[in-house]
């Protein structure tokens, strides 16, 4: 199952400029593995050594922060959009 993943500009140097990439996976963890397979070294920027999502990385499935769901084990379904966004200051 292919999921559309939005890549923030800070990572686009690694994705050859691609704003969205289509990746295989049934969970957020699997999608991050697919991302790593396609663009080596990218997962290490998003996840720590134990596979946990880094403190200042926000990953959303549609409108929901995966931290409020199941973290890397959160399931994704056909048609979901995954968005990776760095934390933004208050206002």
């Amino acid at each position: 199952m292919a999921i559309q993943v939005r890549i923030p500009s800070v990572l686009r140097r690694q994705t050859e400029g691609a704003e969205t990439v289509s990746l295989e996976g049934a969970t957020i963890g699997e999608i991050l593995m697919s991302l790593e397979t396609r663009y080596e070294g990218l997962k290490g920027k998003l996840c720590g050594p134990q596979g946990e999502i880094r403190r200042f990385v926000n990953i959303y499935i549609n409108d929901n922060d995966v931290r409020l769901l199941g973290g890397p084990t959160t399931k994704v379904s056909e048609g979901d959009e995954v968005t990776i966004i760095p934390a933004v200051a208050g206002g």
Binding site: P8, V10, F56, D65, T83, P86, V88, A89, G91
Partner: protein, 467 residues
Amino acid sequence: MAEAMSFVKGLKCKECGAEQPVAPRAICEDCFGPLEVTYDYAALARTFDRDRVTARPRSMWRFRELLPVDGERILGEEVGGTPLVRADRLAARLGVRELYVKNDAVNFPTLSFKDRVVSVALTKAREFGMTTVGCASTGNLANAVAAQGVRHGFETCILVPEDLEAAKILGTTVFGARLVGVKGDYDQVNRLCSQIADRFGWGIVNVNLRPFYGEGSKTVGYEIAEQLGWKAPANVVCCMAGGSLITKIAKGFGELAELGFIDKSPTAFHGAQATGCNPIVTAVKDGSGEIRPVKARTIARSLAIGNPADGYYAARLIRDSGGQAEDASDTEIVDGIRLLAETEGIFTETAGGVTVAVAKKLIEQGRLSRTEPIVLVITGNGLKTMEALTSTAAVYPVIEPRLEAFEKTMARADAAAAAKSAAAAGATEAGAGPTISAFAAPSSFVTSSNSAVPPAPNHGRTSWPSR
């Protein structure tokens, strides 16, 4: 000011330490950590001293050497320099010895501390050659970007949750700023703004200009220290939304100590949030220090950030400085606004109500010293969040324009006040501490149906003047 000098070394990741040159960027490419401006303090210490500061006009730019600008041209030279008020009447009510209010409710030009951060961000945007500036905002930042953006000739694009307080919407559109309401909460607005900053080449002050923007908040700390006679207070109580301000005040004190402007004296930083949006308080209280995002539900809209970007650093600062974290319910927030208004004549918005309410709670619970100096950081103005008060405060008598009617009303008010103080005396005897109670309105008093009517000027008086 014709003094062009910069002591900025560059940008450095707060997490992994990777260094980058100054540019409109906020995020470390290696680990996604936030970038922070670094300075050459050794060089600064050689040329910058207290006399230089005090010789300049009273504004945040007295401390320009400690702000991340390169050129001569400062946008918003008049911003900051707000009063530090010795709050003896509030101190008496709270039962503490030495209390101050840093009153950014009267900041220039838009009555909140956000005027400071925007002044730095726009100065930087001009240096970067940007022509459009914008922000994601819970209201105060929107006002500040709108007013200063227009004044300094920028195009503006400001995004807010669609259902903000009326004054914060009007206080943005009146300047002719381009305002876009977003169907969603602040965290969703934020996310959209991050994508907009990616797509357009704009200077979004709290996204790609964030490292510079955030530095403006340090001036709250510089000013407090200077106004206390060049020393840092033992305690600071500060409200928290994204968590940046409290950490920047600490950074400000630290820098002044490093430069020898003040002695190194440990300040305990106490963080205040609304109960309906308290992820940083939770992180401190559960001992984890890790932020779990929440869905915000509070009348303190300016603090309604469920996923605070600097929450981790704020929680760590509170813990490491020996401070406390606490939250306040919506009722306590309103009581806090009224307590400050009734004791010190300062009308703050809901965020300031949070700060006052939390300070009160910490003092009553013995978690905040009654003998050491305390500074309450009041960040915004009550005229912007009148919705929070109109159901309780707009109660006052309306009379015929005749002296007799006035005298009758005075007599009734005297009777009501006497009954109220008798009741309060009874409550005190029963062991209750000082409380803020609603004005006891006789049946002939009216509650205004006009929500734009300001709170009654006689509010909270215990007696009328003798005649």
